[in-house]
């Protein structure tokens, strides 16, 4: 990652009426230039610019409400930026929305599942839309991987939050597997992936992370588990009040990330 800079303290909309253009650099997995997003009058993301190399892993840190989830949701095309622009592997978030979605996977706060359907049926819907085999037997290896094979036929309305999270993890695994007509997702956004999981669930996330890195995928992970994240990620970024206030090697983040020590002492790690 390079070229990140502290955001200006002035209004994020100052002097910016049109979407900004950014040069297309094919070696970058993510290029964000002055991304801003507001909810009502409050700017959740303000002039965030950065660049992430292909195959690198980014630890995104910051307090609650600092804009981590908003940034991940903007980059994953779940929501639009009000100002600024970004490219995912050279594709513009606005102009190439559908193509961008073929390259990304988001593990967000919501599980994106149907309560009325069983675990395997939920995965089968995603598989069939991705053009992959969607039979029960095709879904079982994935469910075994996330420890839900025994509950494959149960409607997920009766699942705990952690079990639902595992379904979401299985879906991300499905997305990174190569579909016949595409290479699968190569830029993965993980928003608080450890939340609601028990220790075996933590291991699933770490295994998934390892697998993603082995595949050469770019991973951006927002988490409050800073010390753990710093061990497994290459690059660190800290958001505060919607602004990017620090970026550098992930290993330096717990000591030099500005707000990170405060988070550590608040018992997160």
């Amino acid at each position: 990652m390079r070229g990140s800079r502290p955001a200006s303290r002035s209004s994020p909309i100052e002097g910016r009426r049109k979407p900004l253009s950014v040069a297309n650099d094919s070696s970058a997995a993510i290029e964000a230039f002055e991304l801003s997003r507001r909810y009502g009058r409050r700017w959740a993301l303000a002039n965030v610019s950065f660049r992430v190399e292909r195959g690198s892993s980014v630890l995104l840190a910051g307090r609650n409400g600092s804009g981590k989830s908003t940034l991940l949701r903007v980059l994953s095309t779940a929501i639009r930026a009000d100002r600024g622009t970004a490219r995912i592997e050279g594709l513009d978030l606005r102009a190439d929305r559908y193509e961008v979605r073929k390259k990304i996977a988001l593990l967000g706060h919501h599980t994106n599942t149907y309560d009325a359907l069983s675990a395997w049926q939920n995965l089968a819907i995603s598989a069939s839309l991705l053009g992959m085999p969607a039979s029960r037997s095709a879904m079982m290896p994935l469910l075994e991987e996330v420890g839900l094979a025994e509950r494959a036929d149960d409607a997920i309305v009766g699942f705990s939050a952690g079990m639902r999270k595992r379904i979401s993890i299985a879906r991300v695994l499905l997305q990174i597997e190569a579909a016949p007509e595409s290479a699968g997702a190569s830029v993965i956004f993980l928003d608080e992936p450890y939340n609601q999981l028990d220790p075996p669930g933590f291991r699933f996330v770490d295994q998934m992370f390892k697998r993603l890195k082995e595949k050469g995928a770019t991973v951006v992970m927002a988490t409050h588990l800073i010390e753990h994240g710093a061990k497994i990620c290459d690059v660190g970024m800290v958001l505060e009040g919607g602004r990017l206030i620090w970026s550098g090697p992930a290993a330096d983040l717990p000591m030099r990330g500005g707000i990170a020590p405060a988070l550590l002492t608040e018992g997160v790690a």
Partner: protein, 220 residues
């Protein structure tokens, strides 16, 4: 292929939540019963107004089925998950609209015996009657699916959906009521055909236009 996958998902969801369909049928049948009270025991008048009440019952019931179909999508932001897979917004729209039209058609067919019993408004032209119900249900579900998507994240959805939907479907409702009426009461002048053509024309407009607009509605 994505359309087939979406349609399969919709039918699976409808099957898993079939108790809701039974509840909507009871709602529709109760509406027909209450409407019959407004006419009184005048069998001629009951028969005359039966098509209008059938379609009013279907229209009111449609708001329930449409709301429920998007409630399932919004519980855990399932629709957003499908869009990010990525699924084409048109496949998602047409899958949902076809499933809603299918559900409304079944409801309309199920309400025919209720109408016959309550209003003494039977007909031997069953295929024509079912054909009009299919076309009318399609005309309600196409804009209904779009407007339900628009209002699904609003707290005032229950109020806004009828306010937006009902004025828009007036031409469909009018054509469906007239065609049904001619089928039940007799059509010596052969007028039903022109009403059915009008119904098909509005269906074509709604299905093409709403399919184009759906992407804009569901994207942030």
């Amino acid at each position: 292929m994505q359309l087939a996958a979406t349609l399969r998902k919709e039918i699976l969801l409808q099957w898993r939540t079939r108790s809701q369909i039974a509840a909507v049928f009871i709602f529709g049948a109760t509406s027909l019963l209450l409407f019959s009270f407004s006419i009184g025991p005048n069998s001629e008048a009951l028969r005359l107004y039966a098509p209008g009440f059938l379609w009013l019952g279907l229209l009111l019931s449609s708001t329930l089925t449409l709301s429920e179909s998007f409630h399932l999508e919004m519980e855990e932001r399932a629709l957003e998950g499908l869009l990010l897979l990525p699924a084409s917004d048109r496949s998602l729209y047409y899958g949902k609209a076809i499933a809603n039209a299918f559900q409304l058609t079944l409801l309309g067919i199920a309400l025919i015996p209720v109408m016959v019993v309550l209003y003494d408004a039977g007909t031997t032209r069953i295929p024509a009657m079912i054909g009009v119900i299919i076309l009318g249900a399609a005309g309600l579900s196409a804009p209904g699916t779009l407007y339900t998507a628009m209002t699904s994240q609003l707290r005032s959805q229950q109020t806004l959906l009828p306010l937006l939907l009902f004025p828009l479907v007036v031409p469909v409702l009018l054509a469906a009521v007239k065609a049904t009426s001619l089928i039940i009461l007799g059509d010596p002048m052969g007028q039903a055909r022109s009403w059915i053509i009008l119904l098909i024309a509005f269906d074509a407009i709604y299905w093409s236009l709403c399919g184009l607009l759906f992407g804009r509605v569901v994207e942030d």
